[in-house]
């Protein structure tokens, strides 16, 4: 069954429709991430945003990247983030706890930056770019990875290893958990989690991190 070349009634290309849909979804979800008062919902919005982005990757003819996006971001990173959220804060707080009082300035800065970036894009000429999209052959990617990109590939594995070793140490709970502070750190209790539980959860996230990281290390 052949689809019509354009979307019926709207007279826009299917591609464009998909682009607008995914793009709109992604931005909306991203806004949800930064504006949401409930941090858990923010996390979920992030997943949605990543998923929409995966759609855009697919639309751009990069299926491998799209797949990796789903696996890595949605499958691993987002989960980690959600774990961490659970661990540090369960309830949504009032706006004052969510936003810094410099939020208005932050908004202003972000808008100015956006204007700059958009105006840049509008006037840009890219000497190498072509008007038509090109498609990627997945096989070429693999070859490149072990030829031209062999050094980056190796470095990434080292990087992950380093992250794991350090991460495990930092997140590891120790029995002799005596705070030794130089100037006497301020103990501010805001979260609702009792200490013991948080400690155990920390070990959990650490191992999850290791798993995720090793997973990532193997996959590409």
């Amino acid at each position: 069954m052949a689809l019509p070349p354009t979307v019926p009634y709207f007279d826009i290309a299917w591609d464009d429709l998909l682009f607008l849909t995914f793009g709109g979804l992604m931005l909306a979800a991203a806004l949800g991430v930064v504006l949401g008062r409930n941090i858990i919902r923010s996390g979920l919005a992030m997943i949605l945003s990543f998923a929409a982005l995966a759609g855009i990757y697919a639309l751009l003819g990069a299926p491998l990247v799209a797949a990796a996006q789903v696996l890595i971001y949605i499958g691993a990173i987002s989960v980690l983030v959600l774990f961490a959220i659970m661990l540090t804060q369960s309830k949504s707080g009032p706006a004052s706890l969510v936003f810094h009082h410099q939020a208005w300035a932050a908004a202003l800065a972000a808008i100015v930056l956006a204007l700059l970036l958009v105006s840049m894009v509008a006037g840009a000429e890219w000497p190498r770019a072509v008007a038509e999209r090109v498609h990627t052959a997945t096989g070429d990617v693999a070859r490149l990875l072990f030829d031209e990109f062999v050094l980056p590939f190796e470095v990434v594995s080292v990087l992950l290893l380093a992250a794991v070793i350090g991460g495990v140490f930092l997140a590891k709970r120790e029995d002799t958990d005596v705070p030794e502070t130089e100037a006497g750190a301020r103990q501010v209790t805001l979260g609702s989690e009792p200490g013991g539980a948080s400690g155990r959860a920390a070990s959990g996230i650490a191992s999850a991190t290791i798993v995720a990281a090793e997973d990532l290390g193997r996959r590409p």
Binding site: H100, Q102, A105, A106, A109, A110, L113, L116
Partner: protein
Amino acid sequence: MTTDQLLVTLLLALPIGGFALTALVGRRLYQRAWIIAVGAIVATWLIAMYLVYNTLFLNAYGAQGLHFTLYEWIPAGDFRIEANFAVDNLTAALLIVVCTVGMLVHVYSIGYMAHDPGRWRFFAYLNLFMFSMLLLVLADNFLLLFAAWELVGLSSYLLIGFWYGRRSAALAAKKAFLVNRVGDVGFALGIMAIWTTVGTLNFPEVFERIPLLAESGVIQPWQMTGLALLLFLGAVGKSAQFPLHVWLPDAMEGPTPVSALIHAATMVNAGVYMVARANPLFVQSPSAMWLIAGVGIFTAILAASIAFTQRDIKRVLAYSTLSQLGYMFAALGVGAFTAAIFHLMTHGFFKGLLFLGSGSVIHGVHDEQDMNRMGGLWRKMPITHITMLIGAIAIAGIPPLAGFFSKDEILGQAWKNGFVWVWAIGIVVALMTAFYMFRLMGKTFYGPSNVDPAVEPRVHESPRSMTVPLLLLAIPSAVLGVALGFPIGAGLIEQWMEPVFEGANEVLGRGQAEPFQVLGLDGFLAGASVAVAVLGVLAAMRLFGFRVPLLGLQAKPRPAVVERLTDRLRPLYTGSFHKWFFDDLNDLIFVRAGGLVARGLWWFDVHIIDGAVNGVAGLTQRSGRGLRHIQTGRVQNYALGIALSLIVVAVGYFVAGGR
């Protein structure tokens, strides 16, 4: 080095050696601390007399005198200064006074200082002074003269401040040095000017070139006047002329032999000597000469007026010295160089005599200097009395004693050279001089005794070491005038000084001196002098008493009349008594105002200059402290800062690279 050169060198070496030795070992000599110093000076005197004889009487060194160089002192490129010396007639004349008075003062001091624990210091200082003074008269270039100039100042400082424990002595010493320094500044500048314009500082060369340079216009008249006045400023300081006269009376804080030696007979004459020495230079500038005459005669009358009312015996003599020095400068100013030197010599002896006599008096009444607490001493101190009387007559200008000849010469020359006003003032001064000198004599030796009753019985004549010098000094005071100045205008002194002042006289257009006319102008002038002198003497005798032992003449003092007179002239009396308030004026200007300025500048230094320095440091610190606050400790602030900076950088790139 010839024998004579060696002798000149010895002339300097002996006293400085004496100084060094006495300073090092004098303390160990105890009572005989004087032995080295006096020995050295006696030897010096002998050598000096030999040289004087050679110069003046044998004319052994020719008209130019003996010149020689010891070594090169300052070799700085074109500025080459040698340590060179000269003995000519002028020097010889000075040597007579300096060495003779100096030697007698040394001897006199043996007795006078016998009981002072610091006597070794005293003799060392005296020797140092003799060295400096001899260097001054022997020096053959301006810088060496200047060096000696400063050294005599130093000796004077040391000797005035000899009793350092007395605050007044210390202050007087400092004052003397500093006031002298003011003059020295001028002298130094004059020397620089000479070197810059003439290119040398050696006397013979300078005096040879100066007339040529002035004639050819290389040195403009105004420059010449400036030059002369700068040098004269030095003379004003050293010879205590107005307005730098203030130090000399205070200098009487020193032991009396010092007053006699330095502040009457020798050092204060240095200014006169210098102007006389540099006569070829001064005569090039008539206006400078006029000013010198003016300053001289003004000082003469000013000082005389103060001497009227002083009570301290040494102060009267000090003001008298000022006054007589004023005469000498007046003489120099009117072009009567010979007369100036003549008066210098006679004055050196009789004023030395008077000072030593006053010292003897002070010694006799146990360190009392107030004349109101003396009186009637003629009986107890006969030698002192007689010798001082000779000195007083001499200074009053009564013939045939020494003062008459030299003073008359000055006044006569002033009239004849067209400075009638100088003569007029001079004659008034002569009157005053006679008066205050006999006021002194009357209050000290005649009339009723006002001596402290506790001391009265112990008043005695001084020991021989003191009286012998008095006697020895009385002789020249009495006869030197006749010996050198007779016949008037053609005496020995004229012959001696003729080669020295030949050039100057030529420039001033003065030919061979006319022979003295008893019945002409000369006679009139001489008569006037004698008349006022006698008048002054008589007036003083009438008011303050007198006594002529041999003739049995005597009069009682009349304090009541004196009282009435002073009451009638109260403002004048007060002014005179307070030395016309010069000291107060100086105190106001230099001490108080100067102190204020200094304090003001110090404040400026601490608060403005240093304040600026510390202010910059403080500002830096403060800005550092201010900038600390951007580090709030909150990550979001930091991030916002970074984001804003990023925007600035991006905009910057757009603006700067917007092509």
